[in-house]
Each structure stands twice: as structure tokens, then as C-alpha cells.
């Protein structure tokens, strides 16, 4: 291959590597199984990706600001359990805002620890993953939570409803992605998130209140978790305490797949949405070609490694570049 062609391909991979990989996966799966590109299947994949997707939107802010959030999975379990429990005790109209308030408090607490006490976000959120799981179990006494009257509640609308033929979870995901996408790209707050993650010292020297920006990112992440928990609870109207277990890694995988740097300062909402869809379609495709569900855990990891590798290879212009 001539030097020029290789450079052009390298450049294309660097800019659109994720989309290229996505297209290749889709074509491969479609050839393997016709059902994969059935409209019903596609809609189904997007709907089941919505919960993960909503969480990934919030985590995108946290990652761009240069931090991590590994607590979103167990926080989502918490939100789901709390809203289901309160549904029967105080009614859905009060249960929803109460659950949102509690989840936001958790987010604010993390934001306080990372932003104002300057604690390492990996340690804080890894600890919160475990702590919130304990909180959830304490709250529920370890029992599964179910709504008594599953037929008679309007609460099911968020997870099972449809508008204009499109499932409500997809609408919520799309609307939230649009709002947060614009917030990140077009508002002063979004600009400050990039600055804080890109170079925190320079942000301070520009008069940006870093702690406040970091704090806000975690509150925003918790807001997304609350919405995800609402969809989850509404879809199943009953839940185990571990419903969100392991999702923190899938969320992170989607954000990284989209191309956000774990060092902070880069990434977009649009790219994260692409990352979420890739993850969803690949998992679905593997099921359709007949692999066991449990294989997904392995495959998710492989996909992350591939994504990171391709990203680095594109930047360096070669696939093989050992530590020298």
C-alpha cells in the first residue's frame, strides 16, 4: 500500500474509526442473520439500550471533566428500589419526586467529596458503588420490591408506554440526549466542563470555579441515573436489589467507545450515543448468531480493548507500537 493511501486510511480511522467499525459490525451481523436488520429488532435494541444510554449521557459530563463515575450502576438499583417501594406507600405522583430528591442527594454527596474535598474520583465512586449497594439492601431488607397493583397504575407509562408508535424510553433517551448535547456544546457550563477536564490549572487561572463544575457534573450524572431508574422501575414494575449491577462498566465502555478520553477534556454527547448503540447492537447480534447471554460479559470487555486499541493506533498511525 502506498504511503499516501495509508495516511488517508489512517486519517479516516482517526476521525471516523468508531463509525467505520460500527458499519462493519452491522454488515457482518446482517449477513449472518436476517432478523438482525428487522425494524422490530432494531427498535427493540434501541429500547433496551435506553436505560444504559441515559446513564451514559450523565457519565459523559463526568468523564469530560476529567473524573470517573463507577457508582451509577448501584445508584440505579437504589433509585429503582426506592421508587417502587414508595409507589405503594405514597402513590406514584409523590414517589417520583421523592426518589429524584434522594438520588440527587447521593450525586451531590459524591460531587462534594470529589469537587470540594479533592478526593480521587476512582476511590470515591468505587466506594460509593459498594456503599449505595449496602444502602439499597438496608432499605429493602434484601427483599425484591414489587408494585401490588400492576394493572391499575399509570406509572408503567415511562417504561412500557408508546407515543407516535415509538416507545417512551426511546423518546426520553432521545430528548435527554438532545438537551444535554446542546448543554455540553453550546452553554457556558459545557465550555467550562471541557476546560476543567482539558487543563484544570488553566481553568483555575481563568477564574473558573472548578469545584462547582465538578460538583455539577456529578449532580447531573445522578439526575440521569434517577431517570434511568424511573424507566427501569416502570418497565418491570418490580425489581431485584441488583438490577443495575455491573452497568457502571457498560456505561463507561459506551462512553469510551464513543471516543471520550479518560484523561478528560474530549468527547461529545453524540459520540456517546453512538457508543451506546454500538454496544447494544453488538450484544444483540451475538445473541442472534446463537451465543449464550453470558458471553456478553467477555465480549463487552473485548470491545473496549479493541476500541481503545484502534483509537491509539489511529493516533500513532500504526497498529503495532510497543512501549519503548
Amino acid at each position: 500500500m502506498s504511503e499516501m493511501t495509508r495516511q488517508q486510511i489512517g486519517g479516516l480511522l482517526a476521525r471516523q474509526g468508531i463509525l467505520v467499525a460500527f458499519a462493519l459490525f452491522m454488515i457482518g451481523f446482517a449477513l449472518a442473520n436476517q432478523r438482525f436488520i428487522d425494524p422490530d429488532n432494531i427498535l427493540g435494541v434501541i429500547r433496551s439500550s435506553a436505560i444504559l444510554g441515559v446513564m451514559a449521557l450523565g457519565v459523559t459530563f463526568v468523564v469530560i471533566s476529567g473524573n470517573l463515575d463507577l457508582s451509577v450502576g448501584s445508584m440505579m438499583s437504589f433509585s429503582t428500589i426506592v421508587v417502587l417501594d414508595l409507589h405503594d406507600k405514597i402513590g406514584p405522583a409523590l414517589a417520583i419526586p421523592a426518589m429524584f430528591a434522594m438520588t440527587l442527594c447521593l450525586g451531590a454527596f459524591i460531587g462534594f467529596l470529589v469537587g470540594y474535598l479533592k478526593l480521587n474520583s476512582l476511590i470515591v465512586t468505587l466506594g460509593m458503588l459498594s456503599a449505595i449497594h449496602g444502602l439499597t439492601l438496608t432499605y429493602s431488607g434484601g427483599k425484591n420490591m414489587d408494585i401490588a397493583d400492576k394493572e391499575g397504575t399509570w406509572f408503567s407509562i415511562f417504561g412500557q408506554g408508546e407515543a407516535l408508535g415509538i416507545p417512551v424510553p426511546i423518546l426520553l433517551f432521545a430528548a435527554l440526549a438532545a438537551v444535554l448535547g446542546i448543554a455540553l456544546a453550546k452553554t457556558p457550563f459545557g465550555r467550562k466542563v471541557y476546560a476543567v477536564g482539558g487543563n484544570g490549572t488553566a481553568a483555575t487561572f481563568s477564574g473558573i470555579k472548578r469545584a462547582r463544575v465538578v460538583f455539577s457534573c456529578y449532580v447531573l450524572s445522578a439526575l440521569c441515573v434517577a431517570i434511568a431508574g424511573l424507566i427501569q422501575a416502570s418497565r418491570s414494575l418490580g425489581s431485584q436489589n441488583t438490577v443495575g449491577q455491573g452497568m457502571e462498566l457498560e456505561v463507561l465502555a459506551a462512553v469510551i467507545l464513543g471516543g471520550a478520553s479518560l484523561l478528560g477534556g474530549s468527547g461529545t454527547i453524540f459520540k456517546t450515543v453512538i457508543g451506546v448503540l454500538i454496544l447494544g447492537f453488538i450484544q444483540n447480534g451475538l445473541l442472534l448468531v446463537g451465543l449464550q447471554f453470558y458471553v456478553q460479559y467477555v465480549v463487552t470487555w473485548v470491545i473496549i480493548i479493541l476500541a481503545v486499541w484502534l483509537d491509539i493506533a489511529a493516533k500513532r498511525g500504526k497498529l503495532w507500537s510497543p512501549i519503548a
Binding site: Q7, I182, P188, R191, N199, T201, A202, F205, S206, G265
Partner: protein
């Protein structure tokens, strides 16, 4: 020179990148036992040339000849094996390992079963360290050494191979004067052993002190080689930038305005003590002193990054407290910080976003950042400061040092400050951009800004300031007017040996 064979010769080196001829037929040779300066503005091609020499980049045309044999360097290790050794500005040592381990990393002497032969390692290391006459031994942890001594470890590492040519890239950037003397001794020693040395630096003083010849690059082209003994700073500068550089004294001829900032008896722990000065509108107040004299710390206090332990700050006659950078900005103080890459800019962001960052909250239309207003600000300061960039979307990290610094200056000018503090305005910037920035500082004063310039370069302070505050060890020794100041009395004041006029 008795040996007529060059240690290293470059012949018509050409290196092109898409759209750019980074090196355009560069040829020069380094004799054994010669110290050969390589000079040029940032972007002239020095770094590219060094990467070609180090095997990191392959030239498109031309030859590298080591001891009369054409050499192709396949990578950094290959270059080292062929006797080309680099002492980089940024050190590449493992802090937690000993000096000996760092020097022989990757080729530690072994005993049976692959265990490290410690006695032999120490013996070999101490032999090399003995040649360098350093004050530490093989067992010292590298992290415990000063930057200068760490550099010595790098040099020791270079001496483990049979070096034909050693390349020093801005080696004195973070050294004190005493440490420089030691470094120059080592260089003299290397030269006495017949090693060819390429010395890259922006500092004319050093170049004229230690080099034999000077080769100049401009815009990727070789512009000639001068014998150091037969040339002078002006001629070299002219070769580098293609015109003359003005470094005359430059006191204001316009009327000064009111006192914009007054500082009375300000102290901050051990950093500085009992500091008093004032700046008027239309005036440039220079701060001169050694690194660690407390100049930057005063600037950081005025910008709300440090809390003073005693004393007063008055802005326009009103006593005030400055609690944070945001507060300082609100009170009309701007700081162009010392280190533009870590403090001044978000390198991954584009030019426009960097420039408007401090005021992004105010540049809004509804909830959104107003694109048009931002671009207008960027365009205005791009034109006013003559910032050269393909457009506002360009990542700041891709600009040259001078243009990056202008972005930082534009960022703070666009805040319309009452007091503009500029810390080391031309550090690491090429000569051409330097004089532009000096002129800019003078122009700002003429337009009525109160400007504080902190600098470690005496010609710079003398050139731009109306008055000069000389600091030594956290105290103001004396404030000079531009009529009083001479190079001698300024040096005395900042060395702590001058007259003590408080």
C-alpha cells in the same frame, strides 16, 4: 582542530510533511571537540532536525554521515548505538531508582541466574561519576537529586556509550547560575575528549560563552555558520529573524495617570515580606529578581491564588481583599501566568474558546454561548496582536510558542483590565515574537493600562519598564527609575549585595 574528519556531518537533509517543507536542504558539520550552537526561532526546524538525527523521523532526502560513514538511524536506540546521544530539556529518569540503576537501565551487569551484579554496577557507575566530579554517588535515589544533578545523571548515561556527538537541547532552562557553571565544565570536558557537541539554546549569553561555531536555521532552511569569536549577537539575531532587533531603553514619554494599584506592607508567610509598591495607569512596573525571590508569589496573591498574611491592597484608592481568581477578575486584575502551557491555556481547545474562557459566562444569548460575539472578540485580538493561525478553530496546542503567548495576552486584554500582570512574558519564545511582545507591552502602557511585568531576563526588564522593583529573597531591595538603573546596580540589588535602601 587537528582532526579534519567531522564527527557528524549532515548533507542536504530534506524533510517534508503534508503541505510543509520542515527541513529544506540543511547541511552542516560538527568537528570532534567542537561545541556547535544550533540556533533558530521556534518553528525554524530545530526540533525536526533533532528528530531526524535521533532516528524518530526519517529524512526524505539527504544523508547523515558519522565519522565519514553514511548512517541510517532506524530509531532512538539505533541512534544511541551509533554514538548520537541526546540530553533533553525534559528529563527521562525513574525517580524511585538509584543513580546507578538509571544509568545502566536495560543493560545492568548480571551474575549467574540473571541476578544483578551490584558491586560491579556501582563500580562502573562511580567510575563515570568520578569523571563528572559530582557530589552524589551510585546509590543515591534519583528523586532526591536537584534538577541539575538529574541532568548530570543523564549526561553520565550518555557517557556509557562511545559518544561521537552529544546534543544538548536547552540544557540550562531550569538551572541556577552555579549549576550552569558545573554543566559548562562538563561540556568542556567532553570537548577535551574529542566529542562533537551540538548545543541548542535561545540564550545568547551562553552561546557566546561556550560555543565555537554557530549554525542558524530559518524557515527550515540553513542560513549559514558563523565563527563565534568573529561575530556578535546582532549578526546572529539578524540571521535568525532576517532583521534587526531593538533592545533600547524605553521609558514612557506620555503623562502617567492615577495610581491603579497600591500595595502596602504586604507579607505572605516565608514567601515574601513587607512589600510595598504602586503602579499608575500608563506605567510599566518591572519586577526583577532571581527565581524564588517572591515575584511570582506576589502576582499570585494579587490574582487571588494566595492569601496574604499581612498588609493591604488598594485598587483605585479603595482597600480591598482578593479572595479568588474569579474575584480578582471581577475587580479588574488580569494575570498572564508564568507557564502558558500548564497555567495559561487549555491546549486541546481551539483558539477562540481559550481566548474567551474567563468571560464565557457573560458572552451569552439566552442560555447559550453567543458564537458571534466570541468570534468578534477573537477576530479583534487576532488582528490587534497579529496572531498567526489558520482560523479560530485551530487547536491552540498546534500554534507556535509566540502565537500561543499572544492568545493568552489576548485572553486577558479582552477582559479590559485595570491592572495587567504579565509573568515571564517571553519565556521560551523566539526572538522575533519576543520583540513584538515587548512592543505590545509598551503600547498597552501608552493606551493607559497599568502594567506589571515580571521577568528573569535583564535586557527585557530594562527594555520595557518605566520603573524596576529589584527583589531578593522575598524582599524589595530597591525600586529604580529608568534614569537611575544600570545593569550593575540592578545585579547587585538582586544578588543581595547592593545598597540596602528599603
Amino acid at each position: 582542530m587537528t582532526d579534519p574528519t567531522p564527527a557528524l556531518r549532515l548533507e542536504d537533509i530534506v524533510k517534508t510533511f503534508p503541505g510543509v517543507r520542515a527541513l529544506d536542504g540543511v547541511s552542516f558539520s560538527v568537528m570532534p571537540g567542537e561545541v556547535h550552537a544550533l540556533m533558530g526561532e521556534n518553528g525554524a526546524g530545530k526540533s525536526t532536525l533533532m528528530k531526524v538525527l535521533g532516528g524518530i523521523l526519517q529524512p526524505n532526502e539527504g544523508r547523515i554521515i558519522i565519522n565519514e560513514e553514511p548512517a541510517v538511524m532506524s530509531g532512538p536506540l539505533d541512534a544511541k548505538a551509533k554514538g548520537i546521544v541526546f540530553i533533553h530539556q525534559e528529563l527521562s529518569l525513574a525517580d524511585e531508582l538509584s543513580v546507578a540503576e538509571n544509568i545502566y537501565l536495560g543493560e545492568l551487569p548480571r551474575k549467574r541466574f540473571g541476578l544483578v551484579d551490584w558491586p560491579r554496577l556501582e563500580e562502573k557507575t562511580n567510575a563515570i561519576l568520578g569523571k563528572l566530579k559530582v557530589g552524589f554517588d551510585a546509590r543515591t535515589r534519583v528523586g532526591d537529586l536537584s534538577i541539575a544533578n538529574q541532568q548530570m545523571v543523564e549526561i553520565a548515561r550518555a557517557l556509557t556509550v562511545d559518544a561521537k556527538a552529544v546534543i544538548f537541547d536547552e540544557p540550562t532552562a531550569s538551572l541556577t547560575d552555579a549549576e550552569k557553571v558545573v554543566l559548562f565544565d562538563v561540556i568542556a570536558d567532553l570537548r577535551a575528549h574529542g566529542v562533537g557537541i551540538i548545543y541548542i539554546s535561545h540564550r545568547m549569553e551562553e552561546i557566546f560563552k561556550i560555543t565555537d561555531r554557530i549554525s542558524v536555521l530559518r524557515d527550515g532552511q540553513y542560513r549559514g555558520t558563523l565563527n563565534t569569536a568573529e561575530t556578535n549577537e546582532e549578526e546572529v539575531t539578524q540571521l535568525m529573524i532576517g532583521r534587526k532587533l531593538d533592545l533600547s531603553r524605553n521609558a514612557s514619554h506620555h503623562e502617567l495617570g492615577d495610581v491603579a494599584l497600591e500595595v502596602r506592607n504586604l507579607s505572605c508567610g516565608r514567601l515574601y515580606h513587607d512589600v510595598s509598591f504602586e503602579v499608575r495607569r500608563g506605567e510599566v512596573l518591572g519586577f526583577y529578581g532571581l527565581v524564588g525571590a517572591g515575584r511570582t508569589e506576589i502576582a499570585e496573591t494579587l490574582f487571588g491564588l494566595r492569601t496574604p498574611s499581612a498588609g493591604q491592597i488598594r485598587l483605585d484608592g479603595q482597600e480591598t481583599r482578593i479572595t479568588s481568581p474569579a474575584d480578582a477578575i471581577g475587580k479588574g486584575i488580569s494575570l498572564v501566568p508564568e507557564d502558558r502551557k500548564t497555567q495559561g491555556l487549555v491546549l486541546g481547545m481551539n483558539c477562540r474558546d481559550n481566548m474567551t474562557l474567563p468571560q464565557v459566562d457573560d458572552l451569552t444569548a439566552g442560555p447559550f454561548v453567543a458564537d458571534g460575539a466570541e468570534i468578534a472578540i477573537f477576530d479583534q485580538y487576532r488582528d490587534r496582536l497579529d496572531i498567526r493561525t489558520p482560523g479560530w478553530k485551530q487547536q491552540v496546542g498546534n500554534l507556535s510558542g509566540g502565537n500561543q503567548q499572544k492568545i493568552v495576552i489576548g485572553k486577558w486584554l479582552s477582559m479590559h483590565p485595570n491592572v495587567l500582570i504579565v509573568d515571564e512574558p517571553t519565556r521560551g519564545i523566539d526572538v522575533g515574537s519576543k520583540s513584538e511582545i515587548h512592543k505590545l507591552v509598551r503600547d498597552l502602557a501608552a493606551q493607559g493600562y497599568a502594567v506589571i511585568v515580571i521577568s528573569s531576563e535583564m535586557p527585557e526588564v530594562l527594555h520595557v519598564s518605566d520603573r524596576i522593583v529589584a527583589m531578593y529573597s522575598g524582599r524589595i531591595i530597591r525600586t529604580f527609575t529608568s534614569e537611575e538603573v544600570t545593569e550593575d546596580n540592578l545585579i547587585q540589588a538582586i544578588s543581595g549585595i547592593g545598597e540596602k535602601v528599603a
